[in-house]
Symmetry: none
Subunit: 132 residues, 4 copies
DNA sequence: GTGGTCTAGACCACG
DNA sequence: GTGGTCTAGACCACT
């Protein structure tokens, strides 16, 4: 299910992290579901096990999964996420940055909003859709 | 009035690139305006000239500025940029990625759109706002 | 088999860029082939790694190679390149300039054309030979 | 008559050199014709006198003009040019390089030859057109 | 191991 | 004065 692009400037382990989180958001993975083993996923993606391990470690750090020694990695109970003030700030800064770049390339306001709609429409979540 | 954050994970030279592009978009810098010299900006930001030079070089690659040996760097005539298919694809992929992350942190659809509006409203440029 | 001439007025990093592009045109390097690592090539050419890195970076800008962090640099899929209007104009201007110089030295029209034939005949690529 | 492009990567003084040589080749300037004074040309081109002086110095070095102290610069008697073996080699190398670049951009063999024809057709010279 | 970034210097060509 | 190139190192993140 997971697909990576080794030529992206985004690190591979981050791509894995993103895709797992996306799968959760889209409802493909639910609490308690088991992830493929590090070795299996590494083989499947043609990357070294270390890379996958790093991704899983990061996912555990972000409370997306829990790993149980000798058993595997499972989707964790999804907390009503409490983004660190800091994380959110960094995230928004990055968001603004990439937006600026896209605008500089000539992308229009509505075009950008359409992208956002598409992303949200692909999500099945019980994540609060509004927060204001 | 460029400011950098040396502790950011974003490379310094990219921060400079972003800020110059932003300044152009916001109308603070117009065609023909001269940028501070490599050495002066380096001193001001407390980085080595090489770092600033790299940023300027990247800006020239992106047709944001033109540099004239022995004279300085100037804001270029802004072409009605024709982003490479490739660049645009990468840009949108990055956009989706960061959006996913923000959504995972709990950011709402309207909140994200509001951010976009704010960004666009801060821009003074006759960049085409619509393109569909 | 890259060779540089440190006494040339052409920058070293540009010599590397040219030679890699030439190798691709001649078919010595094909899509997916791996380039020597920055450090190895630097050692081999007796230059600093930074110089080679700059060359590779430029090659990536020109879509000749793709670099994968932590892995290496590979010959990219060669797009049926669509040179920027700008690039092409600059290129042709440079071409005219050097031609003028050669003519001033006494080179004949047919001699110049013979050179071009020789260059093209040394190329193995399915680059479109005609375009008018 | 002379026009320069300050944003070119070709140094301005070289542009002047090239254009004077071109004017000679095209017959616009003949043996004995006087060139504008350094100051006058500098003013006309909006460059510093030093730049023009450097160009004239280079032109004298190449036996294109002779400068007479207190009188001015004149087109020299055009010798049946004896290009240094070295100069010619460098020139041809540069030629090949720029050709490679153009080919890499997708320029066709005939297109290139057409360019050469156009250049030669613009020339009025009694320079030997063949030399083989 | 890989490439990417950065420092602290140097020298050069250009204007 | 300007930018461009290069050296000789260092540290970092990624695979």
């Amino acid at each position: 299910m997971i697909q990576i692009n080794p030529t992206s400037n985004q690190p591979i382990f981050e791509q894995i992290v993103s895709q797992v989180k996306m799968a959760v958001l889209k409802g493909y993975l639910k609490e308690g579901d088991v992830l493929p083993s590090v070795r299996k996923l590494a083989l499947q993606l043609s990357v070294t096990p270390g890379t996958v391990a790093k991704a899983y470690s990061e996912l555990e750090h972000q409370n997306v999964i829990v790993t149980i020694r000798g058993k595997g990695a499972y989707i964790a109970e999804q907390p009503d996420s409490k983004p660190t003030e800091n994380q959110l700030k960094k995230g928004l800064a990055a968001f603004k940055g990439i937006c600026m770049d896209l605008i500089y390339m000539g992308i229009g306001r509505e075009e950008l909003k359409k992208e956002i709609d598409e992303i949200y429409d692909g999500i099945s979540v019980r994540k609060r859709d509004e927060r204001i």
